[in-house]
């Protein structure tokens, strides 16, 4: 079978271009991405850029007037510290408490599905309902104080609402289940035979946790901390409802809302929103930066 003369017809130029783009993964399938991109650009990126632009155009004080106004006014400036003072301890507590509990419950046991289901409840109920419940439950005549009094632990009711404690507890009620479920799913992604292997090599339970499981879990912990922190950092309704919105729980979202929607100072409102976003991203960035130092490969499990 003699080979025919090779017909060296070069493909048309248009085809060649398309060909080369397809090599790099660009073809008409990418059009499927367009609607979602358009939505995010129009509803997230554009407003954000618009807000940043607005924050540099205050009615007075020059380009940085709105930012200067925020940082010069102690009443405004302190909201940043207040927010961090609530969000960081709450996120830390939620993650720290979740680790031992999730570790203990990582295996199978009866009622696990029920327990996880119950823990989903406060997350789905959201902060508004939790606030309402906390007001009733922790109030001076609520069941909690009543129980402590009848046990003889306290004489006068504890003041647990309309202050820092109330907001903190509301953050724990919604944040702890969130952290717990996430960590539980990270833990079940770690191959259990790794610990058994460590046991055959003579590691005791604490050593197995400390030397094998914890290092594999650490990146997940960092991610969980970030997500819990974001939840706590954006505390808004509960800070107003169970907190003391004019005083010790005047968080930064209240300040932003107040500036934009009650005083109608949009530049200041936008500036505070930007500061809030930056502060949040700084914390998340630091945590994720530390996380990148950790081992983040396969954990050998189904995760």
């Amino acid at each position: 079978m003699t080979p025919r003369p090779i017909e060296t017809v070069p493909p048309p130029a248009r085809l060649a271009w398309r060909h080369r783009l397809a090599e790099r993964g660009i073809d008409r399938h990418l059009a499927l991405l367009v609607p979602a991109m358009a939505c995010v650009l129009a509803l997230f990126v554009y407003p954000f850029a618009y807000g940043i632009g607005l924050s540099f155009q205050p009615e007075q004080g020059g380009v940085f007037g709105a930012y200067r106004a925020f940082f010069a006014d102690a009443y405004q400036r302190d909201t940043l510290g207040t927010t961090l003072g609530l969000a960081l301890p709450a996120a830390l507590l939620n993650v720290a408490a979740s680790v031992p509990i999730a570790y203990r419950m990582r295996g199978r046991f009866r009622g696990k599905r029920l327990l996880t289901t119950i823990l989903v409840v406060p997350i789905t109920l959201g902060t508004v309902l939790t606030a309402e419940g906390l007001l009733n439950y922790l109030g001076p005549a609520g069941w909690f104080n009543r129980a402590l009094t009848s046990l003889g632990l306290i004489d006068a009711p504890l003041r647990l609402t309309n202050n820092y404690t109330g907001v903190f507890l509301s953050l724990v009620i919604t944040g702890f289940p969130f952290a717990f479920l996430l960590i539980l799913s990270y833990l079940s992604g770690i191959d259990p035979t790794l610990e058994r292997a460590a046991a055959t090599l003579g590691a005791r339970p604490w050593q197995r946790f400390r030397r094998i499981t914890l290092p594999l879990l650490a990146p997940g912990l960092a991610t969980t901390f970030c997500l819990t922190f974001v939840l706590a950092f954006s505390v808004f309704p509960s800070a107003i409802l169970v907190g003391d919105p004019a005083g010790e729980t005047r968080v930064i979202s209240i300040a932003a809302y107040h500036a934009a929607w009650e005083v109608y100072d949009y530049p200041l409102g936008s500036a505070i929103a930007v500061i809030m976003g930056v502060a949040e991203l700084v914390v998340v960035g630091v945590v994720l930066g530390l996380r990148s130092l950790l081992y983040t490969g396969s954990t050998g499990g189904k995760g």
Binding site: A36, V40, P100
Partner: protein, 278 residues
Amino acid sequence: MGRRRIVATPGAWLIWGAVTFFLVNLAGVIGAVLVNSVGSRWFDTWLPEEWTTRWYATAWTDFGLFQVLIVTLEVAVLVVSISVLVGVPASYVLARRSFPGHRLVYLLFLLPILMPPITYGIPLATVLYKFGFAGHLSGVVLANLVPSIPFVILTMTPFIEQIDPAVERAARMCGARTWQIFARILAPLLIPGILAASILVLVRTVGMFELTFLTAGPDSQTLVVALYYSMSAAGIRAQQSVDAMAVIYTATMLVLLVTALRFVNPTQLVARVREEPD
């Protein structure tokens, strides 16, 4: 050796104790609302002295709950359908293709989930007011799309990844065109994922306070925003009728939740943030 240990270690006691304490207080928080909504004359006792259902009737008429529920339903249905229609194709491309800027696009979709709603809600509401959307149903829907579309994308990604790409290639080798692959192969295989994503977006939209609060007008309040307004205006209405409304909200959410749990794993309700693909 031999028999299993029945006596738990002190650590186990401590942990189960902590969990029990948390659950008891959680029950207290929800129970307090529930009991208050069906009681009257509850002052310095464990339980109210009288039981009644009249607060529900009061709440229903006083807060115009029928209208509120209709609005909530409209918002939820619109947000779910739009975000699924827009999000599923995008998540297909992100899960299957690599192209220049893939990571950037992925990050862009991740950001709205990572940012507190208030931070982008305020500028978003400003823009929506500027264009006349805010204060109406359309504004509420648009604002809620911001976290919902990325959420659909992130939820769908693992569902798409678990479909073997060879299956699509096999369909192609059998002569199927792209749209036929979508309609006959991918869509049926993705139905569980789409259901899960829809139900999760539904739960989140009904529970979403901040964005709806910032963009809703008097006629476009969802249940959770109406509840907030009635709470912060405490003193005007009886506390019990606010609680009755809270119970209605809780019941709605629980119905959604029970439905959701038939389709998804509890951890999915919490978050779906995957490690960025390398």
